[in-house]
Symmetry: C2
Subunit: 187 residues, 2 copies
């Protein structure tokens, strides 16, 4: 393995978070083993473990909001089509265990709560924007964006803790997405 840089460590930390371990999986020595390095390397690039956690959270914030939004935005289409694409993307990536679930689980830590809060606001704001450009009045759009995101979070939680329960009661994912879309766009 060649030499490592700051982002290699941050990326590995984020990966560790996403792999179910949560924040406590961001431990210097295990990560060092995983990267074929030692603590000596780590403490060259970072001043402390907290700094690594912060870097991993920054990385997550970027990938979970900015990157997704840019991808959707560059795909063209109407507001409604983009909204559909966003749901599609969300259900796919969220289902196969991104870091979202793991981070939502650690909002007792201030730094995590702040990052989650920023991501939440950015996502809701974007959903509201898409709803608005799909014809929903902006004040209503904001309320519904919050509700939609809340439903998404609950669904994510259920999918994680009781997957079979969800499979039996909710039908296919695409049909569910259609239902949600219809509810959000109704007037």
């Amino acid at each position: 393995m060649s030499r490592l840089n700051r982002e290699d460590w941050a990326s590995a930390a984020l990966e560790a978070i996403a792999s179910g371990g949560g924040i406590s999986a961001v431990a210097v020595e295990p990560l060092a083993v995983r990267l074929g390095a030692t603590k000596g390397s780590f403490y060259w690039h970072f001043a402390s473990r907290a700094e690594l956690v912060e870097a991993a959270l920054d990385l997550w914030e970027q990938r979970a909001t900015v990157d997704v939004i840019e991808k959707i935005e560059s795909s063209g289409g109407t507001g409604e089509q983009r909204l559909r694409a966003l749901f599609e993307h969300t259900f796919q990536t969220a289902a196969l265990g991104g870091a979202d679930m793991a981070l939502l689980s650690h909002t007792d830590l201030t730094i995590v709560r702040e990052a989650v809060d920023r991501v939440t606001r950015r996502r809701i704001r974007y959903i509201a924007k898409l709803l608005h450009s799909a014809g929903v009045p902006s004040t209503v759009a904001r309320r519904r964006a919050v509700l939609a995101y809340s439903a998404f979070l609950g669904n994510l939680q259920l999918a994680h803790a009781s997957p079979e329960l969800l499979r039996r009661s909710v039908g296919s994912v695409s049909r569910y997405a259609d239902e949600v879309m219809a509810t959000l766009l109704s007037h």
Copy 2:
């Protein structure tokens, strides 16, 4: 402090979980300090830390489902009135940080996931039962119970990580409960 028994320890452990610490807050030595005792006492009542976690989860399962359901059931009233009472109770206790949020955050641990799964099923089953006795056909009642619970979970999550966001977008709690009730009982 007089002598302790098994439930004193389990109760203290559950309290530690509810106080934001999560499962990792169930540590023998800190709990011993908090109870004015030592590890010697603990390891008399329990064989291991895992056994304490299990006991705390059992206690939570009892208080978060059976006790609540019994309380609602004994309060009398129609199915609709009981449903309203359940929501009232739920929003109140959940808001001021019960153990729910902390436990939902640790479903990576098998024993927690199983307990959460059982609680989830019991709660959804009860909601469905109330909906049914309020006139909703049983199959529809079950689907809506899942959706209602999912919305509850998402709301809980938002309330925990971004409380002000929620306060601004959703109006008063009672009005929100009315909206949810109306949606669930519509046909």
